[in-house]
C-alpha cells in the first residue's frame, strides 16, 4: 500500500474550492501525467494518466467511482486499474481555516527542524523536477477567510510485484498529491486575482 496526504491553504472560501473541485473537467488536466478522462455516468469515469515511477513513465488506465459526494466539504472516490493490478481510494477535503489549539501549535514547534528539512526537500524536488512554486500561498496568512484543501490518496498494487511497485510509487505519489492540490489552488487564486 502506498499512501500520501497533502494539505494546502489559500485565501479562498470553501465554496469557491468546492465549485471548482466538484466538476472534474476543471481539475483533471492539472493532475500530473494527465492524458484523458471520460465521464461514464454521474459517479463513474475512466482515466488515462502517464505515471512516472522514477526509472520510467508508463500509461495507466483506471476507473474512478465516486463513493461520497458531500459538498462543499468532501468528495471521496475509489479507483481500480484497467491495465494494471491496482486498487485505491482518495478524498478531497475542504474546510475553513481554524486557529490551531495551543497544544497543537506547540507540538508543531517541537517539530520545527523536521518541517524545515521537509520544506527544503520540497524546494529541491521542485528545482530538480522543474515544477512551479505557488507564490500567493506563502505570501501571507493563513487567517480569517482562508480555507484548507487536503488531498489523500492510497493505492494498493496487486499481484506478486506489489511490494516492489509500492516502493517505486511512493515517492512519485507524494509529489502527485502535492502538485494537484497546489495547482488547483493556484488556478483558483489566479482566477480570483484576475476578477479583482
Amino acid at each position: 500500500m502506498a499512501e500520501t496526504e497533502y494539505s494546502t491553504m489559500a485565501r479562498l472560501s470553501v465554496d469557491t474550492i468546492w465549485d471548482f473541485v466538484k466538476e472534474m473537467d476543471n481539475w483533471a488536466p492539472l493532475l500530473t501525467g494527465y492524458q484523458a478522462h471520460e465521464k461514464q455516468s454521474e459517479t463513474d469515469s475512466l482515466w488515462t494518466v502517464k505515471g512516472d515511477v522514477g526509472v520510467l513513465a508508463r500509461v495507466v488506465k483506471f476507473k474512478v467511482h465516486i463513493t461520497e459526494w458531500n459538498g462543499p466539504e468532501r468528495v471521496s472516490f475509489e479507483l481500480e486499474g484497467v491495465n494494471e493490478l491496482l486498487k485505491g481510494q482518495g478524498v478531497f477535503i475542504m474546510q475553513p481555516y481554524e486557529e490551531e489549539p495551543a497544544g497543537a501549535a506547540s507540538a508543531q514547534r517541537k517539530n520545527v527542524f523536521t518541517r524545515v528539512v521537509e520544506s527544503l526537500l520540497r524546494f529541491f524536488l521542485r528545482l530538480f523536477r522543474g515544477r512551479p512554486e505557488r507564490a500567493a500561498a506563502s505570501a501571507a496568512g493563513p487567517g480569517e477567510g482562508w480555507a484548507q484543501l487536503t488531498f489523500k490518496l492510497r493505492i494498493d498494487p496487486g499481484g506478486p510485484m506489489a511490494p516492489m511497485i509500492n516502493a517505486m510509487m511512493k515517492p512519485a505519489m507524494e509529489v502527485v498529491a502535492e502538485d494537484l492540490s497546489n495547482r488547483i489552488i493556484a488556478q483558483l487564486e489566479a482566477q480570483q486575482g484576475s476578477k479583482a
Partner: protein
Amino acid sequence: MASKPARWDLEVDVVAVGSGLGAICSAIVAHDLDQQVVVLEKAPKLGGLCAYGGGEVFVPNNHKMAEIGATDSDEAGRQYLDFLSAGFADPKLLGKLLDNARPAVEYFEKEAGVKWIAVAGLPDYYYPEAPGTHPGGRYLSVDLFEGSQLGEWQHKTYLTPHIPLGVLHRELYAWGGLAKVTEWDYELIAERITNDQRSSGPGMMGYFIKAAMIDRGIPAYVETPVRELITENGRVIGVRAERAGQDFFVGARRGVVLAIGGYDMNKEMARQYEAMPDWNSAAPPYLDGDHMVMGGEVGAAVAAVPPTNLAMFFGYNIPGEEHDGKPLYRTSWECGCPHAIWVNRAGKRFCDEAFYKDYQPRVRMWDGQNQEMPNYPPFLIFDQNYRDRYPLGSFMPGTELPEELVKQANTPRELAEKLGIDGEQLEATLERYNRFAEKGEDPDFGSGSHPWSVRLTGDESYPNPCVGPLNKSPYYGLRLVPVGVGINSHGLRTNAHAQVMHVRSNPIPGLYAVGNSAALLDLGGGYQSGTSNMRAITWGYLAGQHLGRKA
C-alpha cells in the same frame, strides 16, 4: 570544425566525454596518475549504458573465481575468445584485452573500492561445446551499493528500467531466473529500493561514480554535450561543448577520451551500419553516434565487425512506456520460456528462440532469389499456458495486455489473420511443435540445448525448460522489432593504447576511444554477455594509463 578559442572556459589534462563505465574508468586511472580530469556528459544524469545493463563483466580466470570454488586458466579464456572472434578479431587487440582485463578489475577493486562477486552457475554462452568454455564464474557482478554514498549524485545517476533494482545475480538464479519472476522475493526488493541499495548495472556504476566524483572529486558536468573536437597541428587539444545553449570550450592538455557509447538512437546511422530495415534501442536515449561524427571530422578511421553476431535483440515498446521522454523499448526474453515460439510471415519457425545468438543471424538471412529477408519481422506467438505462468515485459499474469501491442484470438488461424501471417502454416507449425514439445523435445532447432539459455529464461519444472506446447486458447501474438542494446558493429578504430587511428593508419595524437565508441576489433565476430563491460573497464584502464604516462 571549431578553432582554438582565445581562452578556454576550462582547461584540464584529460577530458572524458561520456559518463558510462569506459569514461569513468579512464577518468579514475588518469586522475590516479596525477592528471587533472573532467567528465562531460550529454544526458541529465551519469551512468551511461552500463547503468541500464545487467552489470556483468566477463573476465576469464578472474581473481574471484576461487571464492566460489571455480578454477580456470588464461589459456582456456584465450581459446574461448578466439572461438568467439571467428577470425575477425585483431589478435594484438584481443591479446591486450585478455592480458589486461584481470589487472583492470583488480585495480578497481583495490583503488576504487568496487566489491566484485563471481557469479556462480551462469555458464558461458557456448558452454560446453566450444573450446575453452566454463560452467560458471567468469562473470563478475557487484555486491549491493548504497546509493546514499553518492551525495549530490544520488538522484543524478541512471537506474535501469529493465531489471528490478536491488536483485543480486545469485538471488536472481536462486529464485528461478526470468521464468519465475512472479515468485521473486518482492518484499526484499522493495526494502532495497526504499533504502536505495543498488545492484546490477546501476550498482556497478554506483561504485565507479563514487570513486571518481566523491572520493577523488573529479568534476562532472551533465547536460553538457560535446559537439566538436578542437585540433592544433593534427593534435586534439580540446572540445567545444555546450552548456545551457552556450559554447563551453574545454582544453585538454593530454587528451580527450570519447566514451559515449554507440549510435542506437541515430536511426539513419543505425540503418546504414547495421543493415536492418528498422532500429530501436533499449539503451539510454542519448547514444546518438556523436563519436562517429566528431571522429570523422578529424580523420578517424571507422572499423567494423560482422553485424551477424552482436548483442542485438528483438522486442517491443509497450505503448506509453517512456524513459526521459522517449519510447522505451524492451528486449523480448519471452521466447526463452515454455509455451512461446517465433514464426516468420510464412507462419514457420526458423530458429532456436531461447538462444539469441542463433535467432539474430537467422532473422538477418537474405533470400537472394526473392530479394527479401524471409524471417523479418519475427512474430512472437504464445498461448494461455504462457499467460498463466509468465509475464510479457512488465505485464504480469492476470493483467490485460494492450490491444495496440498484442493480438489475441481463440484459434491460431484467427490469430494469424490478425497478425497478417500465413494461418494454415501457423496451424501446421504448432501441430508439429506441440507433438515434440509434449515430450520436451525440439528436434528442429534444439531450443533448450544451451545451458546458458536454460539458466537465464528456462523454467526448470519442465522436462525441457525452454519448451512447452501451445495448446490452450486464447492465443496471443505480436510483431517484434529490432532492439539494440548500444553495442554496434561499427566504431572508431583504435590501437593497443586505445588511441583513435587516423584513416592513414597513424594514431591521432590526443584522441582516445573506449567502450562501445571503439570498434569491436578486440572481439571480432563474436559476443558474450559481460564482454562489453569487460572492454569498457579494460580499455578505460589502458587509456587512463597512457594518458597518465610520464612524458
